[in-house]
Symmetry: C2
């Protein structure tokens, strides 16, 4: 009997708290909805591991049609490759000798692909790959308006593509751009315009390369907020959406996206104090709930608002004194940002119709290197 | 050879990133400074585990004179009690049958003490302790103005104290109040006035009990921002300061406190991209740096400002184009909130004069239950 087995079969309200719950029916519906969309367009889905950080969920996404996965960090890539997944994109720069050595090791066990935006980095990966007889696939990250990483479209992309193509043990696959500055724009018309403007930079970069005779096989980008914008562009070959698996109150409010997916993630809390009729204190603070996208809110209870999160406590203001919450009572809180909330927890409790069906360790939690 | 041993003796800049560093000389100086203060006043120090979450650091604090430790969560108490520490206060309510069972189990191996603010909770702990033949020490948490948990001073405290005194297998020890709404007030005069006003509520509660013949042995409160305010009140018997061990940019700016302690904690980052002369991207985002108290800043580099943190990236604006930071370069970032930043990491690298001296697992990281 493993240490998770005693939880199986319990009702979710019997779980001790704070606990991170997945509504399995809703998660599976989200997987199905996204897979259905990508069966209708040219682009494929390459869902992001950074949201759930758990190989079994990646496998479910692949079983539903995803072509592989996207990772933010080498530690996530190690987790999924050790779990048997081979088509893995690290959608960030892998920099420094330790990390490049790990990348090359992974290339021996997978068809790993990495984003690059710098000549010296390309050179270093090529040399390390050559020394080990490995091949690393590369996408050039293009700055399409987010102003984070990435080279500028046009000549800078061409020069770096030539560098990749001329370097031993590398394979130039194509381009990547992330329209992260557009994905949570609530208004559908504004988001559509902003995302298309951003992706146009990536298309321009592709056309520039093709005019010079450089073949661009892969065009990668997109997020949950733009899955059906970026995903509908015929020249895009893959979309990196991640949050759709769980959703949260931020994406839930994004028009044209929030309606299509259910929020499948929640944090179970216990009331630890009811010091006054209008104040309820729960055991979920900043160490189990991220708040950079706003203070998360309870679900399924009317007349309450979570107004403050300190390290270990949540403070709920009660506007309806008939709210009966008392110490020991449990309630669920909907995260405002699923990705950073998951990173605070060690395991999921998978719930179906109220009963614990599975307990999954969050294998890549904290794997920030 | 354990898995941490290869790091010992490396220069800190050889470590892969993100990495959480402790400057051991500075941490030890902070322990000494705080211990020296508490050798001059009536109150003792009961430092908080929630900041460092690591038993070896608690042992160092006790070796320097602390009477025991404060914990936020049962999981922290389990970590330190399993490491041999016996005088442990859980400064929050322990609610629900699972948690109460764990509390009683700990009472068999320690002189554990817990905060209470509710009759039914006192009753439940008493019954569970009686069933196991254990004794649990109790402090009544008093609301002294923070408006989180705690009963109101006066008659409500008296009634709950009588309940504790009359319940089998419980020992009423005294009162606890946390002036958390005052500890980070920057101005010393304002903080002093606010903290003394808050603590007066706790003193009033004590005097009220004593008039009714109830002995109050322990008076517990305080934080790093009020250590020498609350700590100087003759009737206070102990102070729960935690952050002083590491400090951060928030407490570093608190007048009368920031000057006395050095910031001993930092997050080592690697530059992953320098897309333009005025922009540097590092590999430290919200999954390794908390930002609820403001965006943390690099130390030791002039002409740079960390202006944005996304999940995996930090964006640094460079105002001096002579800043030579390029991909692969490393820099240290000073957290703005040490407690929540520590909770994002699995281990500390203890650095002395630039060299890794020790690697400590953060035993109670994520122990939110």
């Amino acid at each position: 009997m493993n240490t998770n087995e005693p939880f199986i079969g319990m009702h979710k309200t019997e779980l001790d708290t704070p606990a991170l719950l997945i509504d399995l029916d809703k998660m599976e519906a989200n997987i199905e909805t996204m897979a259905s969309y990508f069966s209708t367009v040219n682009a494929d889905l390459r869902p992001h591991v950074k949201t759930h950080k758990t190989p079994i969920i990646s496998h479910k996404q692949i079983a539903a049609g995803a072509i592989g996965v996207t990772c933010a960090k080498l530690g996530e890539a190690e987790a999924v490759i050790h779990a048997g997944i081979r088509d893995v994109l690290i959608a960030n720069q892998v920099v420094g000798p330790h990390k490049i050595a790990r990348l090359i090791n992974l290339a021996k066990h997978s068809e790993i692909m990495v984003a690059v935006d710098n000549f010296e980095n390309v050179q270093a990966i090529s040399e390390a790959a050559a020394a080990k007889g490995a091949t690393v696939r590369m996408l050039i990250e293009v700055n399409i308006g987010m102003n984070r990483c990435g080279v500028e479209p046009g000549e800078p992309v061409l020069k770096l593509a030539e560098k990749v193509r001329q370097s031993p043990n590398l394979k130039f696959e194509g381009l990547m751009g992330y329209e992260g500055h557009t994905v949570t724009k609530r208004n559908q018309v504004e988001r559509d315009a902003a995302a298309r403007e951003a992706m146009q930079h990536l298309l321009d970069a592709k056309h520039y390369l093709e005019k010079q005779g450089v073949e661009v096989s892969i065009m990668s980008g997109g997020g949950t907020g733009t899955f059906n914008i970026t995903g509908s562009i015929p020249e895009m070959t893959e979309v990196q959406a991640g949050s759709y698996i769980f959703m949260d109150s931020t994406y839930g409010n994004v028009e044209g996206v929030g309606e299509q997916f259910d929020c499948s993630l929640s944090v179970l809390a216990t009331v630890v104090s009811r010091p006054s009729p209008n104040r309820v204190i729960v055991d979920t603070g900043l160490k189990v709930l991220a708040k950079e996208f706003g203070i998360p809110q309870p679900v399924g209870v009317n007349g309450v608002e979570l107004t403050g999160l300190s390290e270990e406590h949540g403070t709920i203001q009660v506007s309806d004194e008939n709210v009966s919450l008392k110490p020991g009572d449990k309630l669920e809180i909907l995260p405002s940002h699923c990705c950073t909330t998951v990173n605070l927890h060690d395991r999921y409790y998978g719930i179906r119709q109220g009963i614990v069906e599975s307990v999954w360790d969050i294998t890549a939690r904290g794997k920030a290197q």
